[in-house]
């Protein structure tokens, strides 16, 4: 591809064509004080070899070789190399949105398989072709519940990912959608069911919870569903850690499941792109945002795939569309599809069990160090847990860094009432040695004189 600017002769020709004497006269309508009177201050051009050197030097600044206990909605799992080999094929990497079914069967079939696997995993009837991420997916799920119920209030658990709740507030602010927050039980870390019951009314469109929740605790979905449904509200279950579905019972009582599928083979890449999902029951399909690929037969009776129910998408129904999402995360969803295909039903279960076992070992080991205790430990967890320490996280995290370990994330930025509490995540890429080293460092608090 050529990125060469126009030649002086071409510029002159264009100016002559439109009747401008010079570039300056072309921009005369802009007041002089707002015009730049010098060349842009950009570095000189570089040779390819210099550019390669530049990026190698920048890459060397990356913190490599660290073990990380960070999770909180962005999870480090092993990514089979076949994922990148396949998604980098030009047929997938450069293909445009599949409006034209006759030339996009490969893309459409991949999306159809993604939807099928997500529906099976979440226990819903169907799933869409993907959303931008778990946070916008959760907000869109609430908007969907508003359309289904004709009600305009949401009840949200305080243990839904704080950033998901921020995204929901942004959506809700302009939609006239008040939402109330329900706290969690101090012992279990689960949503306080009595407080929930008090908040849900005949005006509630949706109850939004997350499971495993932000503290890694698995919520009692059947109990929450009973409270929501008793008042005619829909139940939305947000899942930030998709791998949990390998061992955690799917939230079949939910009306809408909003999930972040990043854990299925999507690299963390400094925060994105991620891959959201909305799955629901068939009766709500017409209010579901985003697109849906369906299976059909062509004129000769052969199996084929097409975009279906597209009449409610924004490119056709404009301002009356169910959502302003006009596309899907096709390539990222493809990564998830390949990941799920490689692992398979048994593999996902084994992977989840592996995470569960390591996290359990880490919680017991770290939680039994002097000056440390586990919070919200009275209910089952998946692979995250909250550790409270006598020392401030800032103190021990530096000691951990010296051992090339990134410790849990400080929760006080979102939950100021949780003092010296950190959220730890343990996936299959963490070794037992990492956990034991972290425990030693935590135990090695400097003795006060």
């Amino acid at each position: 591809m050529r990125y060469l600017p126009k030649s002086p002769a071409e510029r002159r020709q264009m100016l002559t064509e439109i009747g401008a004497a010079s570039i300056d006269s072309l921009f005369e309508v802009i007041p002089a004080e707002y015009r730049l009177n010098r060349d842009l201050d950009v570095p000189r051009q570089q040779a390819e070899s210099e550019i390669v050197d530049y990026f190698r030097a920048a890459a060397d600044k990356n913190a490599t070789g660290y073990a990380s206990f960070l999770g909180a909605g962005a999870y480090r799992h092993y990514r089979p190399v076949i994922i990148d080999s396949l998604v980098q094929r030009g047929e997938f990497l450069t293909s445009y949105t599949p409006y034209q079914a006759e030339i996009t069967q490969g893309t459409l079939q991949a999306i159809f398989e993604f939807q099928t696997m997500i529906a099976e995993l979440t226990g819903m009837d169907l799933a869409n072709a993907s959303m931008y991420d778990g946070s916008t997916g959760a907000a869109e799920a609430v908007m969907m519940a508003v359309r289904v119920t004709g009600r305009h209030k949401a009840v949200v658990a305080s243990t839904v990912h704080p950033e998901y709740r921020e995204v929901l507030s942004t959506y809700a602010k302009h939609q006239g959608l008040p939402s109330t927050l329900v706290p969690c039980d101090r012992e279990t870390g689960r949503i306080d069911l009595r407080a929930l019951e008090a908040e849900v009314t005949n005006e509630t469109a949706a109850v939004l919870v997350q499971s495993p929740n932000f503290f890694g605790v698995i919520e009692d979905i059947p109990a929450i569903a009973a409270i929501a449904h008793a008042k005619g509200s829909l139940l939305i279950v947000s899942i930030a850690e998709a791998v949990s579905l390998g061992v955690v019972r799917p939230p079949v009582e939910a009306d809408i499941v909003s999930m972040e599928a990043q854990s299925f083979g999507v690299a963390l890449s400094y925060g994105g792109p991620f891959c959201g999902v909305i799955a629901t029951k068939e009766q709500y399909v017409r209010q579901m945002p985003g697109r849906l690929v369906g299976q059909t037969v062509d004129g000769n009776g052969y199996r084929g795939f097409v975009l279906t129910l597209a009449t409610r998408e924004q490119h056709i129904r404009r301002e009356k569309a169910t959502s302003n999402i006009c596309t899907n995360q096709a390539l990222v969803a493809l990564m998830a599809t390949i990941f799920l295909t490689v692992y398979g039903k048994e593999g996902i279960r084994e992977l989840a069990e592996h995470n569960l076992a390591k996290a359990d070992y880490a919680a017991k080991t770290l939680g039994s160090q002097p000056g440390a205790k586990l919070l919200f430990n009275a209910a089952p967890h998946f692979h995250e847990f909250v550790l409270q320490t006598d020392e401030t996280p800032a103190t021990w995290s530096q000691r951990l860094m010296d051992e090339k370990i990134v410790g849990g994330i400080d929760l006080s930025r979102w939950y100021p009432e949780l003092k010296n509490a950190t959220l730890w995540c343990v996936t299959e890429v963490i070794t037992r040695e990492n956990i034991d080293t972290a425990a030693k460092v935590l135990a090695a608090a400097p003795v006060e004189a």
């Binding site: 017409r286 009449t311 409610r312 056709i316 129904r317 009356k320």
Partner: protein
């Protein structure tokens, strides 16, 4: 297909058939033939309020979703349950396949609606324009 002379029509292509205080509402032959095969009808619940010239539901064909506009204001007294499983009845018999029934709160709203002759003139203008 003839337009029943006892019905009144909107410029959004709905018809209303008045029987006492109850108006029965559907869409015209012109509307169904422009939409094509109808696959889904989204309707309000019995008891919901509808307002003249405001949307009360939508009708989905294989190529588009179109809003349904109420000819009158009032409360919904019945919905045509048959359309849940057989929305294509609207294509087959648009002027006898009703969508909702409404108890009128302001019968004077009927006065601004078109009669069959005026509606036919209106659609012939729309088709030629």
């Amino acid at each position: 297909m003839p337009y029943p002379p006892n019905y009144r029509y909107t410029r959004e292509h709905e018809w209303i058939d008045l029987d006492g205080a109850i108006g029965t509402i559907g869409i015209t032959d012109y509307a169904q033939s422009s939409l094509g095969d109808i696959v889904y009808v989204d309707v309000p619940k019995v008891g919901d309020a509808v307002t003249a010239n405001a949307t009360f539901g939508s009708v989905e064909s294989v190529k588009a979703v179109s809003d349904l506009y109420s000819p009158v204001s009032g409360a919904v007294t019945a919905i045509n349950e048959e359309l849940k499983t057989a929305p294509d009845k609207i294509n087959e018999a648009p002027h006898t396949t009703w969508i909702i029934k409404v108890e009128l709160s302001n019968p004077a709203e009927l006065d601004v609606l078109l009669d069959a002759a005026a509606y036919e003139a209106f659609i012939s203008e729309e088709t030629s324009g």
